[in-house]
Amino acid sequence: MKPVPDLPVTLRVGGPLRTIERRPLPPYAPEVLAFLTALSKRLLTAPQTRLHPDIAAFAYWCRPANLARLQRAFGAAHARLGRGLALHIAPANVPVNFAFSFAFGLLAGNANIVRIPDAGHPQAEVICDALAALFADPAHRRVAAMNRLIRYPRSDAITGSLSQIAQARLLWGGDETVSRLRALPVHPRCVDIAFADRYSFCILDADAVLEASDTVLASLVKGFYDDVFLLDQNACSSPHLVLWQGTAKAKAAQARFWPAMTAYLEKSYALAPVHAVDKFVHLCATAIALPEAAASQRHDNFVYRVVLDRLPADIERHRGRNGFFYEHATDDLTCLAGIVEERYQTVTTFGIDRDALVQSIIAQGLSGIDRVVPVGKALDIGVIWDGYDLIGELSRIVHTA
């Protein structure tokens, strides 16, 4: 095995790079489960966690009951081992993403080198402090020996050196980052899991919205808020297009949903003046660039809606931010075949038969859509993500016949 070189990186958690233990474990190894359980406990009791719901969500995801569920779902059809060393290039703008990426690598049985961003997110420090404390505990000696969390300025030289000794890379951050990192020479057996730019949308059933009780409507609104506004509509899985199923009642359903959404935003969302201006600029630009835009409605500056009289095939190129939506009503969801391509990732739904939708995606052989989940779950990252079974991809099968 090629030695791990000494590189000019800042070690945030774990010892020097050259001392890293690269002997893999099987997926869902007891050592790893014990470590993540301890991490979950530690984060859930950390006082700072109350300030950061995203840390709480990660800690909740790591709790033993959830890991046991994931392990059962993963199954034991094959004998497996981690691939070896996994290199993670985590995104700068989603504060806890590095922690999920790290956990996926761990659960698959890998040693991990995680480049964490230095974007000034306090969440990263809270999680790294918790990891460092657990690494110091002899009970987690094996996990501590296998993992390093580091920082370094953008450097193809460093990323290139690490890529040559990694058996797997998790590359977050969109097309540009992926193609840049893909250009670096890698270990011949290296598996890249690349998270490219994606596009997501939402399907709401007009009848279901009209018939929803006030309580159900409130939870729909809260779920839509979480999907869109927690990351300013910038996440790959946040919807840009809202498709209404049921043309006859779409207007009435919109008249119920959007004012409720706006009222919730007025209470819960700190709208930056620059984002209000951004949306207004985008609306004017949309008028010029998108002939299918037939009308628009502004709910103050919290929600901007552009009504499409028909769905342009390239609607994926038109995206909102901070609460800017394209809307279209249809009676026939097979219209999806006219727009869906590889970039499509998540569909969030309300009042839609998700199993039937998945079957129709498969029956039509659509080249995109990897996730069909209820409104409110768009950002719930997990071991199945972007169409990958991450634990499966990050481990290798030891086959016998």
Binding site: I89, A90, P91, A92, N93, V94, N97, R115, P117, D118, A119, R151, Y152, P153, R154, T159, W172, G173, G174, E176, T177, R180, L181, F195, D197, R198, L231, D232, Q233, N234, A235, C236, L271, A272, P273, V274, H275, A276, V277, F280, V281, L283, C284, A285, T286, A287, I288, A293, A295, S296, R298, D300, N301, F302, V306
Partner: protein, 380 residues
């Protein structure tokens, strides 16, 4: 109304009767600060209504925007009803209301390196109207005669002609109101004391017109004088400056300190800030003796709530919208800026000028980018 019909307004420049609401004559003849806000609202909204129709007919992109915003021609009874465009749109799109072969001059904003710049397309008519209104406002400020002029900048700014940068265009534009135009700084932005002293000797006892950009004046003129312990005898000077306070705010220098400091280094007692932008050249907002920026009759300021875009009350801080009757060759007669400010009062400034007076509080803050992209960033 077509762009062609507008060119007849030249006939009305001496104030002769012209039925077009777009005739400039009456707006040049009147006292620039002589209308109450209510009088102006009625008179100016008739012009802006006509301009909205003109641009809708002449600029297809503008028409598309109005259609999508759901703006009709009716109900535009007040200035606040005039549809406005975000000023940033001029950075992303070439918006013209004249054929390209009638473009006489293209103005660009002075974005710092890497930023995109606004491109404002002027035909001869709009450029001429800008000049006339600016002359009217400057005449009110400086008097009927040209004054000896000291530009607090380097002549190199004009030699480096990347189109018309806002800085160069500002210097050229205001130089029309001075004579014996002399640059106070050399090519390296250092104080050119021999030139300044010779200029002051030539014009001893005369009123002097000084012009420059706020930060340049502070950094390269006031600071340099202070460092060398020189006090220039320009007590009879009137200093016009603009360009924004951002860099000076970083140094905790406000308008009062700026005035006081220049008093110490030059004796100048009349310091006049102005607020204006390349997107509405000509109809600028000048500061009065009481430190208030005033809207002249040819322009207006509206403050809008960032959360709703509704008009805000006197004293409330929000986004500044600027309106001007000048833009004919591009749809820039009502623009939402990215500056924050507030109306200080209406018709009752102690200086005696009528209309709206206001203050500018700076740019809206940039926001942190959240989301999945941009991982492999330079920071770490």
């Amino acid at each position: 109304m077509t762009a062609h019909a507008l060119t007849d307004t030249n006939a009305a420049e001496d104030g002769a009767a012209d039925p077009s609401p777009l005739a400039i004559g009456p707006w040049l003849a009147a006292d620039p600060y002589g209308m109450t806000a209510a009088e102006k609202d009625a008179a100016l909204s008739a012009v802006l209504r006509a301009l909205t129709q003109h641009h809708r007919a002449a600029c297809p992109d503008y028409a598309r925007i109005l259609d999508l915003l759901g703006t009709g021609e009716n109900g535009m009874t007040h200035l606040a009803d005039v549809p406005f465009l975000p000023v940033r749109l001029f950075k992303a799109f070439d918006l013209l209301s004249v054929p390209r072969d009638e473009v006489f001059k293209t103005m660009t904003s002075s974005g710092t390196s890497g930023q995109s710049v606004s491109r404002i397309y002027l035909d001869r008519e709009t450029a001429a109207l800008q000049g006339k209104v600016l002359a009217r406002l400057m005449g009110d400020l400086l008097g009927p005669k040209r004054l000896p002029m000291l530009v607090i900048d380097s002549p190199a700014v004009l030699r480096d002609r990347n189109a018309f940068s806002a800085r160069g265009a500002g210097i050229l534009g205001f130089s029309l109101f001075g004579k014996d135009v002399t640059y106070a700084l050399d090519d390296e932005m250092r104080l050119n004391l021999p030139a300044i002293e010779a200029f002051l000797a030539r014009h001893a006892g005369e009123r002097i017109f000084l012009f420059g950009f706020t930060f340049m004046i502070w950094q390269h003129f006031h600071r340099a004088l202070e460092a060398s312990g020189i006090r220039l005898p320009i007590d009879n000077g009137i200093l016009l400056h603009g360009g924004g306070w951002k860099k000076l705010q970083d140094e905790a220098v406000d308008n009062a300190e700026f005035r006081a400091a220049l008093g110490r280094s030059t004796g100048i007692s009349r310091v006049v800030n102005y607020y204006g932008m390349v997107e509405q050249t000509g109809s600028i907002f000048l500061e009065c003796e009481h430190g208030h920026l005033h809207a002249p009759i040819q322009a207006e300021v509206i403050i809008r709530d960032p959360l709703t875009f509704r008009c805000m009350e006197v004293g409330e801080t929000g986004l500044i919208e600027v309106l001007s009757l000048l833009p004919r060759s591009y749809p820039g007669h009502a623009l939402l800026t990215e500056d924050l400010g507030r109306i200080e009062g209406v018709d009752d400034c102690p200086c005696g000028r009528h209309g709206t007076y206001f203050s500018v509080a700076g740019r809206i803050a940039k926001a942190e980018v959240r989301g999945c992209s941009d991982t492999y960033e330079a920071r770490s």
